[in-house]
Each structure stands twice: as structure tokens, then as C-alpha cells.
């Protein structure tokens, strides 16, 4: 019977993603985009740069959560399985020896 642990972890990831989408939308579309320093080309470039930096930080948070999930639930399990397999084969060879 598989545990519900991944589902609960995913609920947590979705809650964080939801907060990031809301906060990101507000910061970009309420504060960065409508703010006008000068009506010139650099104004648009600065807005694009700030929005991109924010989006990269946000995506970085999601990537970090993804890596943590994969390390905790998939790779560590694979390592444990291979260790237990090694112990079983060691026991078998000791008995034979």
C-alpha cells in the first residue's frame, strides 16, 4: 500500500506555488510595470529586467523544492534499496563461506 506522503508534500508545493503566483503577479503587474521613471527605452528595459529577475528567483524556489522532493523520496529510497540488497548478498556470501 503506497503512503500518502508524496501527496501531502505536493499539497505543500502547490500552496507555495499559489503564493508565488499571487505575490509575483502583484509585484510585477502592480508595482514594476505601471511604474514610470521616464518615457524612454531604458524604462521598458528596466521593467523587463526586474520582472525577469523576480521570475528567475521564483522559479529557483520551485526548482529547489523539486530537487528536495526527488532527493528525499526517490533517490534516498533507491540508495536504501541498493544498500539492503548489498547487505542481503553479504549475508548470503557469509553463510556460504
Amino acid at each position: 500500500m503506497p503512503s500518502n506522503r508524496p501527496l501531502f508534500s505536493l499539497f505543500a508545493i502547490f500552496t507555495v506555488a499559489w503564493l508565488l503566483v499571487l505575490a509575483g503577479a502583484v509585484v510585477i503587474f502592480k508595482f514594476i510595470v505601471p511604474f514610470t521613471y521616464c518615457h524612454c527605452f531604458y524604462d521598458g528595459v528596466a521593467k523587463g529586467a526586474f520582472s525577469t529577475i523576480l521570475a528567475v528567483i521564483w522559479l529557483g524556489i520551485l526548482v529547489a523544492m523539486r530537487d528536495q522532493f526527488v532527493r528525499k523520496n526517490i533517490l534516498s529510497k533507491a540508495q536504501k534499496d541498493s544498500e539492503s540488497e548489498r547487505e542481503i548478498s553479504q549475508d548470503a556470501s557469509n553463510k556460504l563461506g
Partner: protein
């Protein structure tokens, strides 16, 4: 055309694509509504669905590359922007973005049309990538339509949207309901194919734009968005699922799936769900629907934060 359903023990051949029937019905319904309403927003919705569906048919017949598909789907967003500029008085979209906790919208006259054009390939591809197991794509969209429809009703109540936009969701919801319950849910009788997934994704994106419920619609399909993001961020390039060399899950002899422990395997929602033990297709589908329902709740909360709470202050 038929394809193997790999996740069943008997490996049945399943007909595909149901896409032309799905988007044919949706487009016919929307055009009928356009003649009654004269709403250009509904005409734009019909055109987006049609173009996305046609790109999907091309993809069904001759598999498009990971980059060619989104580029072709950019055409899907053009009718919305073109009608807005060419038809006098056509209010396809408003360029006003309503944000949570702020009563006044942000006016984005230059940025919004660009976002409209980008939104269609994004939603179509996102919905296409969640079409992984029996019933998941159509079920996810059906659940996502609950908060989207509620948000449109709130906007109509506040005088921000027209009743025709709500009626425009009906052909889409009706075709999704009939497709899910009669053909697509486990065990599937027909697969939608890329034409079905892209057309329905395009229609969903168009409804979000013409209804003015963009942020709610994004939150409602967060499981599909995250699945797409996890996949792209792990393979680090625009690539078709079929072109991935290491599969994210391993199919056991009893047709249950377990997560691949290969470090090179792409990260997907299904791989994360089966990370602690093997699960059957039905169990995984049920778990994806639980995530969809949770995100639908978050989307409803977002709708309250955008339109109800700022007015109550």
C-alpha cells in the same frame, strides 16, 4: 487510427484522435452563439479553438518537434488581438488585469496583447502535457472550469462581464462532460490525441482571457503547469515526451507504475506521485484529481481575493 494503451495488462488498441469531433462540436456551438449574440469575443474563442485544433491534427498526423508546435500555436492567439484592433467596438479583452487585494485594475495597453498571444501556446501545451493517463486531461479541465465559471459569474454580478461569456463556456463544458464520462475516463474508449488536447487547451486559455479571469484560470490548472514546469526544468530543453530516452516511470508486470530511480529521468507529476511505491493507473488518476480539486479551491480563494474582498473593505 489506433494506439496501444500501455498501462493496461491486456494492452488494448484504443482509437485516436477524438480531437476533430471535440473541437468540431465546440466551434459549432460557439459560432451559433456568435450569431445570436454578435459578440466578437465568442468569435475569437471559436477561432482560437479551431486553429489550436488544426495544429493538433497536424501533430497527430506528423509529429511536430518540441519547438515547432509552440511556434505554430502562436497563430492561435492572433485572432483575439486582430479582432480587438480591427472590429470597431469589439471587446474581446479589456487589457485591465485585476489583482488580489486591489480594487482598481492595472491597465496594460501594450503588454496585455503580447500576453494574449503568448498565453495560447502556453495553455495548449500545458494541457497537452497533462494528457498522460486515462481521463486525466479532460477531468483536470472539468475541475478547473468550476472556479473559472464561478469567477465569471462573480464578474457578471459586478457588471464587469457579459452573460454571453458565461454562455460561451457551455459548449466547452458540455463537450468536456460528454467526452469524459462516455469516452475518456478509466478505462478509456477513445483518446483525444494532440488535436483534442490542444483545442481544449486553446479554448480554456481563450475563455480565461475573454472572461477576464486570467489569474484564477492559471491557479486552477496549477497541477498541469507544475507538471510541464517539472518536465521542462529537468530535461532543460523544449522536447517532445516521445523523444525522451529515459522514462520517468517504470511499468511493472502487473501494470502498476513506480518511479524511475535514474538520475537522468525527467521529473513529472506522475513520477513524484509514485515515488514511495507502485500505484495503479486508477490510483494515480485519483490522486491527480485530488490535487486538481485542491488547486480549484485555491483558485476559488483567489477569485474571492480579487473581486469580493477588495469590495468589502
Amino acid at each position: 487510427m489506433t494506439v496501444l494503451d500501455y498501462h493496461k495488462p491486456e494492452r488494448p488498441q484504443i482509437p485516436r484522435p477524438a480531437g476533430p469531433a471535440i473541437f468540431g462540436g465546440v466551434v459549432a456551438g460557439e459560432i451559433l452563439l456568435f450569431f445570436f449574440s454578435s459578440s466578437y469575443a465568442i468569435l475569437a474563442l471559436a477561432l482560437v479553438t479551431l486553429i489550436s485544433g488544426i495544429v493538433g491534427i497536424v501533430d497527430d498526423l506528423a509529429t511536430l518537434g518540441g519547438l515547432a508546435k509552440p511556434l505554430l500555436l502562436l497563430i492561435g492567439g492572433i485572432p483575439m488581438v486582430a479582432i480587438q484592433y480591427l472590429a470597431p467596438g469589439a471587446s474581446v479583452y479589456s487589457s485591465r488585469l485585476y489583482l488580489p487585494l486591489f480594487s482598481h485594475p492595472t491597465y496594460l495597453p501594450i503588454l496585455y496583447p503580447l500576453l494574449v498571444i503568448i498565453a495560447i501556446p502556453v495553455t495548449t501545451n500545458t494541457i497537452n502535457t497533462i494528457d498522460v493517463l486515462n481521463g486525466v486531461m479532460s477531468g483536470t479541465l472539468l475541475i478547473a472550469f468550476v472556479p473559472v465559471t464561478v469567477a465569471i459569474i462573480i464578474r457578471i454580478y459586478l457588471g464587469l462581464s457579459s452573460i454571453w461569456i458565461l454562455l460561451a463556456t457551455l459548449p466547452l463544458i458540455a463537450s468536456l462532460l460528454s467526452f469524459y464520462f462516455f469516452f475518456h475516463r478509466y478505462p478509456s474508449k477513445i483518446f483525444p490525441g494532440d488535436s483534442g488536447a490542444l483545442a481544449l487547451g486553446g479554448a480554456y486559455g481563450a475563455i480565461a482571457i475573454i472572461g477576464g479571469v486570467e489569474i484564477v484560470a492559471i491557479i486552477a490548472i496549477l497541477p498541469a503547469i507544475l507538471n510541464s514546469f517539472l518536465f521542462l526544468s529537468s530535461v532543460k530543453k523544449l522536447v517532445e515526451h516521445r523523444q525522451v530516452s529515459v522514462q520517468p516511470t517504470i511499468l511493472l508486470q502487473d501494470s502498476r507504475m513506480v518511479a524511475s530511480t535514474d538520475r537522468k529521468a525527467p521529473v513529472t507529476l506522475v513520477r513524484l506521485l509514485v515515488s514511495t511505491g507502485p500505484q495503479s493507473e486508477r490510483e494515480i488518476t485519483r490522486n491527480i484529481f485530488k490535487l486538481d480539486a485542491y488547486c480549484a479551491g485555491l483558485a476559488l480563494t483567489t477569485a474571492l481575493l480579487i473581486w469580493v474582498i477588495p469590495l468589502a473593505k
